[in-house]
Symmetry: none
Subunit: 222 residues, 4 copies
């Protein structure tokens, strides 16, 4: 788990911002250096080449995803609550750093290099597996319906999650992602909950100190 210097982090963040705002085609060494107020060759003090910057972005995100997943899995909650955590963590993270959404949901950007696309695949699988694991647990618990295979449910949940983020981005971040995410979550619960054990929907969830602070933690320590 590589760590980055301050300058490297600056470069990573500026790059994410540039991709988010102007697209991958505008992610040039010139633009990065201009954004940072340093010269172009200076970038090469911190990264060997441009590809390494892109890899660093991915590695950075992968690490923080891993950490978030680990924490969610280790929390002692019902499966549904844990899935909810994943959901909300996602939205909170992107709401706080919209550029990240733009970049991370744009795997195509990285497709022209094998190392890059491998990394992207790994990242995608990471959260899908985490989701799958939680769903399986929920199905074991009778929290979640069993008539639909766990991979399908995972696909459906992740798909909705991704699409709402994408819409948010296409709308120029013009709606409240966390609020809409909350609504979406309510609907998804209805869809996936086991018929037998209907639980009352807990509107208070987001306010509960522990979950809230948990999510906060994830965002501050990606």
């Amino acid at each position: 788990m590589t760590t980055f210097t301050e300058r490297q982090k600056e470069i990573i963040n500026v790059s994410i911002k540039l991709i988010a705002e102007k697209g991958i085609q505008q992610l040039t060494i010139k633009n990065i250096s201009k954004s940072l107020g340093i010269s172009e060759p200076a970038i090469y003090r911190h990264f060997e080449n441009k590809l390494d910057i892109l890899l660093a972005i991915l590695s950075n995100f992968k690490n923080s995803s891993k950490a978030a997943i680990k924490r969610i899995h280790s929390v002692d909650r019902s499966a549904i609550e844990q899935i909810e955590m994943m959901f909300l963590t996602h939205f909170k993270r992107f709401a706080e750093k919209p550029a990240l959404a733009a970049v991370l949901f744009s795997e195509e950007i990285f497709q022209n290099d094998k190392r890059l696309s491998a990394q992207v695949s790994t990242i995608m699988k990471l959260s899908q597996q985490a989701m799958s694991t939680l769903i399986k647990k929920g199905q074991g618990n009778n929290e979640i319906r069993k008539d639909i295979p766990e991979e399908q449910l995972s696909l459906i949940i992740m798909g909705a999650l991704r699409l709402i983020v994408k819409k948010w981005k296409l709308s120029n971040f013009s709606f409240d992602l966390e609020k809409e995410g909350g609504k979406l979550w309510k609907s998804i619960i209805k869809l996936i909950e086991s018929a037998k054990k209907k639980r009352p929907f807990r509107t208070d969830l987001m306010d509960r100190t522990d979950l809230h602070s948990f999510i906060q933690y994830e965002i501050k320590n990606p």
Copy 2:
């Protein structure tokens, strides 16, 4: 609804292929012309500039989407069946022309120009609205559950649809999209169908001549 010359269509197709295979960064006039076996300036006889080629790709897809949607809406079927048609039409379309999937599910590619991203938005809204309309109809019919707002269901269905196409692409088209799409559809039906009026799932749907030929038609006549 602009029509394109033969050469223009060739350029459009080659461009889609290039984007799909090598990413937008490799969509250069040189590569396009090389693929067609003509000189670079020759391209400019057919499109004023590169942006126009990208716009043509989008316009082309938009037109065929519109036509497909129109036909689906005008068919006299239950809402669920119509949604199924949309689903399967989508998959069939992409299965027949994988490159299109690569391009069309990569809206980020087009983000660096206002005209492009406007077109992308329009296209996305097109199928979402079509889906919404059908769901509303189904809810009116008691075919589809009413406890979840129609926009949410639409979001969830479209999200799943998009994600499976994206996975297919990331897997290098290594699974059978139509087959997996069929499975996904089965799961989705279970999720959205109205509890009261459970219909038996019709595995035979895809084989029925009329639907099949309908979809075929859409693909051959975009």
Copy 3:
């Protein structure tokens, strides 16, 4: 004295206009053909190449200058009146076809080819010699002061004439060239007239039928 076909004349005129309005750099085969509403290769039916179009412009103007000069010289008037005719003919010509001014007073445009710059030189010398001849006649007549050599007077008159046309062009043809030209002429007469034989300034000159019709003729038959 080559004559031109109708199409050739059209091409010449359009070319003059293009140079006048947008500069020599915008005089491209594409722009010429677009202005005429024909295809690019069509131009090559009428002129072998681009250089020939430029030569035709010059040849055209040279011919009409020669004719005008010849007529002025053959008119039976005082030298001062003949010079006045040259002056006014010039202004009238340009006032009716401003583009011509833009082109003809821009000899630099043609400098990158020997044949072109030779033609330009010839044209310039043409009117200067004509002017010189008239001045010499005037000095012989005692109409024009003799204390300044005839080449100097010619230079001064032609210089003023050119500068006012250039100013007119730079001002975007926003003043009345003929009127300002008339004023300039009054001043020049005062400067060059022989001290002894002061003639009254004839404001009526431009109205006199013969001069007027003479100038008209020159413009219509360049």
Copy 4:
């Protein structure tokens, strides 16, 4: 009043030379870089684009014109002498740097861009106004005849000045501009001097150390 780096000055000078020798059409980045012995992209370290190079040429000339005019106006001399200074300064400047004449008397070259043609207009007006001011002063002093409006005299003088420079250029710099300029000046004095106060023509003017050194100064410190 922007100052230029050494490389920028080199580029400016090389560009002037290229325009003078081969015409604006040969002023290409390739030719500039070849002349300087550097690569084409290297030019872009020093100027953002080609237009900026042209603007720099004009700006450079404008600045030096302003300085020259300021100095001439501030000298304590008769109006006629000051006009003479303007005349001779002009000729000396161009005689020392013939390429500049080629470029500066070819405003057409710059007509295809608004910023360029605006600058050209400004420069033209600059010296015309300076000339007008001096003539008005001379008319107030009874040095210069009053029967011709000051704008007309200014036009006539500037026109002659410009035309002789242009002829010099068209002749391939084959005569002695300063000498011919001197002759022209003698003629012009005769034309404009007030009848009452005939001053002896001062052939010695150009030799007088102060004027000479003044002009020298202007040329070396533009």
